[in-house]
Amino acid sequence: MAQLFSPSFGFLLRLGVLAAVLAAVTLVSAWRALTSYRAAPLDALEQPVPFSHKHHVGDDGIDCRYCHSSVESAAFAGMPPLSTCMSCHSQLFTDQPALAPLVDAYLARAVLRWQRLYKLPDFAYFNHSIHIAKGIGCASCHGAVDQMPLTWRVAPLTMRWCLDCHREPAAHLRPATEIFNLHWQPRDPSALGARLLSAYHIDTRRLTDCSVCHR
């Protein structure tokens, strides 16, 4: 009876197993890299009006809360009604083609559809007001929007990203006066964080409870 396996079979088998392991490792690594929460931030999206935070915040110095008016009182930071835009733009750049969709919508009382950059899944209940009240600055999640001609997303908004901060909140706290300052840097982060943690009465026991964000 002839040999069932050729002499080179053992070598080929080892080679095959090695190849399979390598392929698996490559696939897993590629998958991890692609889905990593540190994946590239979301690029700016095409918006109906090329709104520039750089111009409005950086150049003109308009406070965040002028437009995002409910950021201190509600879960939703607030998206300005068109009438807020028109409080200036009824006088300024009204006839610029870039503003035409805004002006047209305002006059026709029609809707203007902005593309959402920061979207959480429906089962996560994020609340702006409590973060503002407890010393998390706008820049912590939204970055230096005053340098963004078109707004892009700087945070991955994954659960791990949320938890990184909820587990160690002290490092991210800032004084109440610096919440809306987009370029504030702590001088002595560790001492300040511990002090603010107690000043804000942050109950770290429950910050990672499921019930804090999921209902």
Binding site: L45, S70, S73, A74, A75, F76, G78, M79, P80, P81, L82, S83, T84, A105, Y106, R109, A110, V111, L112, R113, W114, Q115, R116, K119, P121, D122, F123, Y125, N127, S129, I130, A133, K134, Y200, H201, D203, R205, R206, D209, C210, S211, V212, H214, R215
Partner: protein, 964 residues
């Protein structure tokens, strides 16, 4: 130690041990017509596709800002508006939660006398009614879509004609009217068209009570009970806790007089009734008695108390013993006694009730009479007179305002045929119902949450109703329609109501104040006292009335008189006492069932006065032997997708002469069985001692009687470590002495927490989703058992059995003691539910929640996740409300104050039986309740350390009738 801790039962089968199977056990997902190969193909395909689905990013989403922001609205924060909802015409004050302009939830208005902050089940269900996709959505002319303008033109030509004929042939039909605006408009119709006629048809109205007052005092009067002051109450077929006008308020007053620790002592309630009601379930003594016999008993009681009552038949020894005990107890509480007569009893019984109350000096103390709250019907303003006018061909135009006589008119009026002789039938209604399809013009009505109106509560207090949203389908209110008919110069709803209240609320500030508080101050009617007239002798018991079985007609405990048939929350709400859903079988007594060898679900034919109806039977413990009960509101043909074809139409047997009960019924078994979905045996806690009851005597001897026999007083030792304490320790206490079993908590929870309904077939399999169920336990012989209600939400165990068995950590403890369910972690093993001794977890076996109907999406609470198929869910103590309060308090660096978090079930409870709060704060109401000696834990011996605890039920029996 109470002797009553043994012998509780939930169903007759359980009691007799006849049937060991609980819900119908069937395969979870029938693999219809699939062989093994196909199954694995489908399995492979779905796995592959599931992998692909993981590759896509979540949908992008848009932000669409307002053009002009609504005044006073902060995006994402709910706002509350005071308004009025009516039930059977009577006003209930509510606060409507508006989420970004969408009415999503109803709460009671604490300032309103009929609410005091609570609501009934109908107020809760009215948001679902508003968003019901089956609502009528356009004007229809002979079934073809038309417009309001076309209707206005048609009405114009009618109005011209009626102006010439002074309204000859114009008839208007409505339900009970308490709205001062509508009443004034009806007067205006009369002024403009003097020969027009207005008819009132309320299928479960209180005509007998009004007529009884007329017999007693010479004029029709409304009666109000002052149960807080009553020490002895006798109910004669009276379900005052379920009263459509004032049940919520009466329940609160009644329970406040039932506190064992209060200074006033504990009141005593006797109920004599033919068919069990929630009031009877709260009674210290309950006597089942045929409706027709109650009059005899009342006469005997009258004679015993010195009221010149007409002759009556002999009482049985048992009845005589009752009479003696009752009479002496009533006399001993002269001035604090109360006799209540039910709406189903004839007018002269109500007159006799007034005479009894006068003899007991109850008027002015426990009872008040006021001028009628509702607009009194005209002479000949009945449905019967309308029917005879129709049959005589005298009705040219019939305007039906939010009524459905083609369905709910008594059968002897032959109403549908009469409608055929009406030249112009105009129908204003929320649905294109049985009457709507016959109408020449069907007009979509604006919902109560879409229109301006007003109404009066049981005590006359007037309140305004304001719209929360513009009419979804261009509907108009009855006010606006009557303004068109009378060619009023004011046509718009708000202006019509404003004009009505110009005198009482002269300036804008007073108007705004009335709108804001939800009541018009000082508008309650003053009590009247009138001398009693000579009572006419009672009609002698008619031999024909004594023959055969008597058939009782009662409003259904959940769908009412049929108005709420298309409301799935109400359909699936287990009815108090029977725990039935989706049906209205004929309730028969156990003795009758034994005599005719009937079992639950057996099909029978009812024969009454030449009419017949096929129905199924349900054996009702506590039903009087010679009485059978059929609830109204079922058997509808055109209710909508939810309500059509459910149950049996009792109106087909009802007669206009005897709308509440008819004697001479023949019951014939036809063989076969009808499937009924009762939840009474679902989620059983396996024969332990869930309800603990003692008498007042037990309580006085040992206040801690409820836990006296327990193996471990206090918490037994445990091997599990304690959780470290959090900032708050949330807990709940449920007072079984206050729970009347009305089930408002179940439906409030459903509205708050986006809980789906599952349908009759799924309920039969035990898959209903209610997070808080209300168990009903019987004790004693089935002929007249005592019944107890027990609401069961999640126990929030400190050592939770469910948490230990979850393989994916989807149910975990949080720092404040909540047992949290994380839907997006849950993979649906159902281990947790199997390990839960209280059976409070609910599993989405199928995709129950409607994800397609847009209007239903608008109803949902945005603060609560919507659960999908395959996910376990359960009570969260309204975590969304806790978190809202947490965020608000944390923002201000303070603790959450008392009463800042009310769970939905707690807020709605008419008797404040549910208390919720921080157990760690000794001053909190819940901590105080837990210190009560009546406090006990459900299944304490399992040492799961529940955060939800109960206060034992108390009874206050009369020593003459029972050893206490």
């Amino acid at each position: 130690m109470s002797s009553l801790r043994q012998g509780l039962w939930r169903s007759l089968e359980e009691r007799t041990g006849a049937d060991g199977v609980r819900p119908t056990a069937q395969p979870a997902a029938p693999l219809a017509g699939m062989d093994r190969r196909q199954f694995f193909e489908a399995l492979g395909a779905s796995l592959t596709l599931a992998g692909l689905a993981g590759c896509s990013r979540p949908p992008q989403g848009e932000i669409v800002p307002y053009v002009h922001a609504p005044l006073g609205q902060t995006d994402g924060l709910p706002r509350f508006f005071a308004s009025t909802l009516t039930r059977d015409g009577y006003a209930h004050g509510v606060l409507v939660e508006s989420t970004m302009g969408r009415p999503t939830k109803i709460e009671g208005n604490p300032h309103h006398p009929a609410s005091l902050g609570a609501t009934d089940i109908y107020a809760q269900a009215s948001v679902l009614q508003l968003w019901d996709p089956d609502r009528s959505q356009s004007v229809l002319h002979r079934g073809e879509p038309s417009t309001w303008d076309a209707f206005a033109a048609a009405l114009e030509s009618l109005a011209v004609r009626f102006a010439r004929s002074a309204g000859q042939g114009l008839h208007i039909l409505s339900g009970t009217v308490t709205s001062p605006t509508l009443a004034a408009q009806l007067d205006r119709v009369k002024l403009r068209y003097p020969r027009a006629r207005w008819h009132v048809h309320q299928p479960s109205g209180n005509d007998n009570a009004l007529a009884g007052a007329e017999l007693a005092f010479g004029q029709r009067l409304s009666t109000q009970l002052q149960l807080r002051r009553a020490e002895v109450i006798v109910g004669l077929d009276a379900d005052f806790l379920g009263d459509p006008a004032a049940g919520v308020r009466y329940a609160r007053d009644f329970v406040e007089a039932r506190s064992a620790t209060g200074s006033a002592g504990m009141s005593r309630l006797y109920v004599i009734e033919p068919t069990p009601s929630i009031t009877g379930a709260m009674a210290d003594h309950r006597l089942p008695m045929e409706s027709r016999r109650i009059a005899q008993f009342a006469c005997a009681l009258g004679r015993r108390l010195g009221v010149p009552a007409p002759g009556c038949a002999e009482l049985t020894p048992d009845e005589a013993r009752w009479l003696e005990a009752l009479a002496s107890d009533l006399q001993a509480h002269h001035g604090a006694a109360l006799v209540v007569t039910g709406a189903g009893q004839p007018a002269w019984m109500h007159a006799l009730g007034h005479a009894l109350n006068l003899a007991l000096a109850s008027h002015g103390a426990t009872l008040a009479c006021t001028e009628p709250v509702e607009k009194l019907a005209e002479v000949d303003g009945t449905l019967a007179s309308l029917a005879s006018a129709m049959h005589a061909g005298e009705v040219d135009t019939l305007l039906v305002l939010d009524a459905n006589p083609a369905y709910d008119a008594p059968a002897d009026l032959d109403f549908a045929r009469g409608l055929g002789r009406v030249a112009h039938l105009l129908h204003l209604g929320l649905y294109r119902d049985e009457t709507g399809v016959l109408a020449e013009w069907h007009l979509p009505q604006a919902h109560q949450l879409e229109s301006w109106s007003d109404g009066r509560a049981f005590d006359g207090t007037a309140s305004l109703a304001q719209p929360l949203i513009a009419p979804l389908y261009g509907g108009r209110s009855a006010h606006e329609l009557l303004a068109m008919l009378t060619r009023d110069e004011v046509t718009e709803g708000r202006a019509l109501v404003r004009r009505q209240w110009q005198r009482e609320l002269p300036d804008e500030r007073a108007w705004q104040a009335a709108l804001q508080s939800g009541v018009i101050a000082g508008s309650a009617f003053a009590p009247r006292s009138l001398p009693l007239r000579q009572l006419a002798p009672a009609p002698l018991p008619n031999a024909a009335d004594q023959k055969g079985l008597e058939l009782l007609f009662r409003s259904d405990p959940t769908v009412g008189d049929g108005r709420w048939s298309n409301n799935s929350w109400l359909q699936e709400l287990p009815k108090p006492l029977t725990q039935l859903t989706w049906d209205n079988p004929l309730l028969v007594s156990p003795a009758l069932a034994a005599r005719q060898s009937l079992a639950n679900g057996d099909r029978v034919e009812l024969r009454l006065q030449g009419r017949s109806l096929r129905a199924a039977v349900w054996i009702m413990p506590g039903q009087a032997e010679g009485s059978v009960t059929l609830h109204l509101g079922y058997g509808r043909r055109l209710a909508g997708r939810v309500g059509s074809g459910t149950g049996f139409n009792a109106y087909l047997l009802r007669s206009s002469q005897a709308p509440w009960s008819s004697a001479g019924l023949e019951l014939v078994s036809t063989g076969g069985s009808y499937p009924l979905a009762s939840t009474q045996r679902h989620f059983a806690m396996e024969g332990r001692e869930p309800v603990r009851v003692g008498t007042l005597g037990d309580y006085r001897r040992d206040p801690a009687f409820a836990t006296a026999g327990d193996e471990f007083p206090g918490a037994p030792p445990s091997l599990y470590p304690e959780y470290p304490p959090g900032e708050y320790a949330w807990g709940m206490s449920i007072d079984l002495n206050a729970c009347i079993g009305c089930k408002a908590c179940t439906i409030a929870c459903q509205a708050e927490n986006n809980i789906p309904t599952v349908g009759k077939e799924q309920v039969q399999r035990g898959r209903e989703m209610h997070w808080i169920r209300v168990d009903r336990y019987y004790e004693g012989a089935p002929e007249n058992p005592r019944s107890y209600s027990q609401p069961v939400p999640c126990m929030m165990c400190e050592h939770a059995p469910c948490e230990l068995v979850c393989p994916v950590g989807a149910t975990v403890h949080d720092a404040e003691g909540l047992n949290v369910q994380v839907y997006n972690r849950c993979v649906g093993t159902r281990f947790c539910s199997n390990n839960c001794p209280y059976k409070v977890r609910r599993f989405n076996f199928l995709q129950y929640l409607d994800r397609s109907a847009d209007t239903l999406k608008a109803q949902r609470n945005p603060d609560v996740s919507v659960r999908r198929r395959g996910v376990m869910e359960k009570c969260t103590y309204c975590i969304q409300r806790i978190e809202e309060a947490h965020i608000l308090a944390d923002r201000e660096n303070r603790r959450i104050g008392a009463g800042e978090v009310l769970t939905a079930c707690q807020a709605v409870c008419p008797t404040q039986a549910i208390r919720f709060g921080d157990c760690a704060d000794p001053a909190s109401a819940v901590a105080q309740a837990k210190r009560s000696p009546r406090n006990y834990l459900l299944l304490a011996e399992l040492n799961s350390r529940p955060r939800t605890s109960y206060l034992a039920r108390l009874r206050n029996p009369n020593p003459l009738l029972e050893e206490g």
